[in-house]
Amino acid sequence: MATKASRSAARVMMAPAVILLLGWMLVPLTMTLWFSFRKYLPLRGGDLGWAGFDNYTRFVTSSAFWPSIQATLIIVGAVLLITVCLGVVLAMLLDQPMWGQGVVRILVIAPFFVMPTVSALVWKNIFMDPTNGLFAHLWKFFGADPVSWLSQASLPSIILIVSWQWLPFATLILLTAIQSLDSEQLEAAEMDGAPHLKRFWFIILPHLARAITIVVLIQTIFLLSIFAEIFVTTGGAFGSKTLTYLIFQRVLESQNVGLGSAGGVYAIILANIVAIFLMRIVGKNLDA
């Protein structure tokens, strides 16, 4: 149906978006790559010449590197586990007939719309503060000593905050997937006398598999780069320094751009590994 004229028109119409994104990708990426091979200290002499793979080896051998990888993996892994498991349960719950379903749905989804700096600060002060926080009141009520959450249990605290932000996303997507499940199939299984657990395991869960995969991949990409939640709570202290935060500190706080850029290249490679899997799934869906 497409004529030659409409094809060239289409190309012209696509051009602005493609050129902009190409520039957005290539220019900074090239600069990061370039800096990563330079000894570049803007506040202490500027660009001090070629450094080879020095920055790359120094980044991974610095004492902060492995702890940051560990913190990143713990946060991403725990948040994924919590949001997917609770998300499945919540989605199944919200799919049941009930009164006021629309309102409950809004209550559950609301945290997703709270800006990251607000949720981090509200949790940090109003809930987790060791003297005036709500948790401290609760602990004292039960006769326990209040915990200073963000210093004594920084990772669990951050995991709680981030999970609270992302649970709505997982729930909403899994709910959409559950609602597309053929209810006749479930009814048939019910009439055949299949118990709840079996129906869940053999019908609902396989049906959700694709949605769960998508939730995991998309969340991983966003979770790998969480920033504000750490910036305003611990500032990277108490073992909560993720890879993203470590690079941020190298680049902007200690102004070691060469070293930070090498870290940036590692982060880009890491994100791309996840991205490849996500793109495969999305790509398959395009053909359908």
């Binding site: 800006m115 209810s183 990409i221």
Partner: protein, 276 residues
């Protein structure tokens, strides 16, 4: 669902679901309640739930002390500007991909998506340098451009999935009647695409409003939006719970309202059409 359910089971479902829903919503509810307390009541032990002297004092204090309206305006300008600019650039691209698909369309779409996966921190310094070079640091224009670019893939994708649902026969009919490309877009396509465009605007406005990496790193005093304004409360002086709550409530209220309208679009927009 067609299954008949006893009202007893429905009552249990309702009770459990409401309990869970309120638990998840509780931090937001508590923040809103705290914003109407005095500072002393805000840290009262035991915590006061509903029976306290409701006051609007915190809201006036926050506005007076830190000029809240300026941050609000920055947020509106940056989120609105980046979204509108992004949609204007994305509409022709999405249109051509949906209606004049070629062999490369799929690759281009996937490649656009891949730019979204680029971790921001990996390109932080280059962007920082470019911003200094062009005098964009701490300017609203700079943030409009960056947020437009980071959301452009999502905007193109959302519009593409909406446009693809418009039947191509209608366009062919218009073409047979002698409509030019411009007329086709203006009079045939646009009216049918408006709901999709509106959803796209809505979701991306929300995403831009809440963006908290570039807005924190590329602004100082002048162009700072609400994300940065709230972050300034992380090193407070004196009692500040009620004021923090008031500031937070004002920052999230507009988006909570918009968010309620965008539940469906959220799924489509953030899964790139993979879950509908």
């Amino acid at each position: 669902m067609a299954r008949s359910v006893t009202s007893q089971r429905k009552a249990i479902n309702t009770a459990v679901a409401w309990a869970v829903g309120l638990l998840i919503f509780f931090p937001i509810l508590w923040t809103i309640l705290t914003s109407f307390k005095t500072e002393a009541q805000a840290i009262n032990d035991p915590p006061l739930f509903l029976f306290f002297d409701w006051t609007l004092e915190n809201y006036t204090v926050v506005q007076e002390r830190s000029n809240y309206m300026r941050f609000l305006w920055n947020s509106v300008f940056i989120a609105g500007g980046s979204t509108i600019l992004g949609v204007m650039i994305a509409i022709p691209a999405a249109w051509s991909m949906a209606f004049v698909p070629s062999k490369r369309t799929k690759d281009i779409l996937l490649w656009m998506l891949s730019t979204k996966m680029l971790p921001a921190v990996g390109v932080l310094y280059p962007i920082y340098l470019i911003f200094i070079q062009f005098g964009l640091l701490d300017s609203r224009l700079g943030l409009v451009i960056v947020l437009m670019l980071i959301n452009l893939p999502i905007i193109v994708w959302m519009l593409y999935t909406y446009f693809r649902e418009i039947p191509g026969e209608i366009l062919e009919a218009a073409r047979m009647d002698g409509a030019t490309l411009r007329e086709e877009i203006l009079y045939v396509l646009t009216p049918m695409a408006i709901p999709g465009i509106a959803s796209t605007l809505l979701l991306n406005f929300i995403l831009a409003w809440n963006e908290a990496f570039w807005t924190l790193n590329l602004t100082a005093a002048k162009a700072a939006p609400l994300t940065a304004f709230i972050a300034s409360y992380s090193s407070p002086e004196g009692l500040f719970y009620a004021k923090l709550s008031a500031a937070s409530t004002m920052a999230i209220a507009p988006i909570l309202v918009l968010g309620w309208f965008s539940q469906k679009q959220l799924v489509r927009g953030l899964t790139f059409g993979a879950v509908k």
